[in-house]
Amino acid sequence: AQSVTQLDSHVSVSEGTPVLLRCNYSSSYSPSLFWYVQHPNKGLQLLLKYTSAATLVKGINGFEAEFKKSETSFHLTKPSAHMSDAAEYFCVVSDLPGGGADGLTFGKGTHLIIQP
């Protein structure tokens, strides 16, 4: 069984300051991990993914995440927040290599607020 916990339902930062969105997971196997971003009334866009290669993963829009197996974490960071980063962020885990069902477990999301 697998699970995902996004530790903060809301995060508020000032424009230009660092962003940290926290995610912890549990998985019976070697997981793949994803971060998706959802802007209001839009679909989910893939930010980045970890699939057992480099533990520090760089994504789009300046975001990156580090896979830490010992801490079972996959936190999302960005050095300097931009107003356009305001959105909902989902951490997702998969421990299935493929198959029919999506094999995904979604976190409940973190709402990122950017203060001017």
């Binding site: 009334n41 029919g100 995904l104």
Partner: protein, 111 residues
């Protein structure tokens, strides 16, 4: 490159009316296709998935059904909508590996 189209983007329907949401994928063959629902303030719930034409698996019992009449077409339907069917519906696809890509979503409000 692959693209996914989902429509209509917004829909307001009375209770008891039928529903049809359509999704098509371009630029790929034989994708796995998915319908999710996202209720306000909540995470995503997988409703249906399909690994091929005419092959539909339901993840949760409900008032909705899905069909896949063509390789890259996935339709979400209901014969009679309930108030509880309101929400944001997302179509998604994947081919190899486990990375899923989402459409833009459809807002359904049942009144």
């Amino acid at each position: 490159s692959q693209t996914i189209h989902q429509w209509p983007a917004t829909l307001v329907q009375p209770v008891g009316s039928p529903l049809s949401l359509e999704c098509t994928v371009e630029g790929t063959s034989n994708p796995n296709l998915y319908w999710y629902r996202q209720a306000a303030g909540r995470g995503l719930q997988l409703l249906f998935y399909s690994v091929g034409i005419g092959q539909i698996s339901s993840e949760v019992p409900q008032n909705l059904s899905a069909s896949r009449p063509q390789d890259r077409q996935f339709i979400l339907s209901s014969k009679k909508l309930l108030l509880s069917d309101s929400g944001f519906y997302l179509c998604a696809w994947k081919v190899s590996g486990n990375t899923i890509y989402f459409g833009e979503g459809s807002w359904l409000t049942v009144v």
